[in-house]
Symmetry: C2
DNA sequence: CTGTTAGCGCATTCAG
DNA sequence: CTGAATGCGCTAACAG
């Protein structure tokens, strides 16, 4: 049976109002009656109906989170961290998976709005054309939100992300210093902030070194394993000296392709990834990569969101977390 | 601004009741007035409050899902599939991550109960002692639930899972047929159904072949990368001829340890995993494994749950999906 | 076809 | 300290 507060009030022989006050630890209720209420609540296994609570208190115990690709362990870890923190704080997590399709992101966000969640965290997807109405809808509904790992430009919201430009700069510089010139970048979608920033870091390294580079070396890709494989297949005939990617999953696709073509890493080609997934450490040659400090990103983004929810802060900021270069064996 | 149905009613110059009927496409409302209501709703960007809707209709648009380890791509894929199906059906997904801690599972389920979700899917965690009160609470609150990938014994609920015994049987038989005798099994927790079934398959293969085996070859582990590494480290001095595991992530830990100890696979030791993660295909030597058909499991478990939600079915069943043996190069 | 009334489960006034 | 009354936003009778 589902019990309501009426049931516990009736069985505790008090009114609904006092039952409510007792249950919520409000003062102004006699200790004896409180105990009586609590004990019947326990006996009945009574759990308050959040829909009713949220409705009357005009608040919510849920946080909405949209990620692009839950299949990628990087986002798996992000969800894990965010989930832990959010639950710890007494909230519930509603999850949307966009698969990098903006319409799905919008659908999830609309769900969140209808459910009147307390706040939303979104990992933006790759899109050429942005229809960001759902984000403005969040704003007009007074629901705070923050971006994680990257952001959509032109939106007034907090963002917590890795300093992607710096990461790409570090890795590209490393490759240049090792004597490579023809360094390809599997870059994702040029329109996207997370690609642009990495491209800028890549460019900066070249410019600082005074080595010429070609725009043709910047390859647009999707961020998946297969995309890394296909892109590599296409550029192989250009004889790249090194290939960097915007994430480890792409880099694994690169390695797979090179393997299938009997090209040795790093003897024939150097390869570098981005993210530092644990699973890359057992590769034939462990992957040189950039670590994005996920725990920090998760902690910070939730913190920032909570401040907005609690009304402690009202100005928006993009927080950059320092990346860490992990030199392993896929680079000379 | 947040608008309520009152606002759209007022601006459309109708009563709240007709506004509601128009919005919900009920018939018995003039086409003109319906259009009028719809247009102001659109103009206002009105989205109904689900808390109120759920409260009055005594229903819900949310499905709760608890997984153990979202960091493992296997569960990432499972969440992805379930999310897609559930969203497609017009539901919202609430996610809990237990990290194999039963108290966290319970907390998530309690959240789901309080939110009065329509149904719950749970991936049971590894535990010696089960306090399954939260599941009985689901039942007493009339919330249908189903298990995915494994189940807790003694609970009246549906389960959709891979035929784990068969999978382990197939792989063990394969190893025996290749001439191995001393085959270790990194088995997870013996108390858990998902371990037991695999152990049974392992046993069956030995018994059929008439080869003696030792109980000592069955090693209890946690299901994580590090656990695979550590377990391997411990059994190395016993000179195993082959190591099978209950998931690919564990197997990757095994491979990493063997690599660090300069032990060749499969020349010195054969290794086999379970799950068929895409990332294992680029390993030094691609991993022999058992594929669990995740899409099928996801589809079926959601289907089964929906039938319970809609009251179309009332008896419980465990559905076993056939595993697929993937022989690659880590086995002789 | 439309508006009035009632109530989902709960928290918060305000009298007593 | 306690209870009766009110309303959160919405849907479902029921009259008119």
């Amino acid at each position: 049976m589902k019990y309501t507060i009426k049931d516990v009030a009736r069985l505790a022989d008090v009114s609904v109002a006092t039952a409510s006050m007792a249950l919520n630890n409000k003062d102004g209720v006699n200790e004896n009656t409180r105990q009586k209420v609590l004990s019947v609540a326990k006996k009945l296994n009574y759990l308050p109906n959040r829909n009713a609570q949220n409705l009357i208190t005009q608040s919510s115990n849920s946080i909405g989170l949209v990620v692009t690709d839950i299949t990628n362990p990087f986002f798996g870890m992000l969800v894990n961290e965010i989930s832990n923190i959010v639950i710890e704080a007494g909230y519930n997590l509603q999850l949307g998976v966009s698969n990098d399709i903006i319409e799905r992101e919008a659908q999830s966000v609309n769900n969140f709005i209808q459910n009147r969640v307390a706040g939303v965290i979104v990992v933006p997807s790759i899109q050429d054309k942005y229809d960001l109405k759902h984000l403005f809808d969040l704003q007009s509904n007074g629901i705070p939100f923050a971006f994680a790992t990257t952001y959509y430009p032109g939106i007034n919201a907090d963002c917590v992300m890795c300093d992607l430009k710096k990461g790409s700069y570090l890795i590209t510089k490393k490759l240049i210093d090792s004597g490579h010139k023809k360094i390809y970048l599997l870059a994702g979608n040029r329109q996207a902030v997370f690609s642009l920033q990495r491209i800028n870091g890549y460019r900066q390294a070249f410019e600082e070194s005074g080595i010429d580079f070609s725009e043709d070396w910047i390859i647009e890709t999707l961020p998946y394993f297969e995309s890394g494989y296909e892109a590599t297949n296409k550029i192989l005939k250009e004889r790249p000296e090194a290939i960097t990617t915007i994430n480890d999953v792409l880099a694994m696709g690169v390695l797979k392709c090179l393997k299938d073509n009997h090209i040795r890493v790093p003897q024939d080609i150097s390869v570098a990834g981005y993210d530092d997934l644990i699973y890359t450490s057992i590769l034939e040659t462990p992957l040189t990569t950039i670590r994005q400090p996920i725990e920090e990103i998760a902690k910070k983004v939730v913190h920032v969101l909570f401040e907005k929810i609690e009304g402690k802060s009202s100005d928006y900021c993009t927080y950059y977390i320092d990346p860490i270069l992990k030199i392993r064996e896929t680079t000379k």
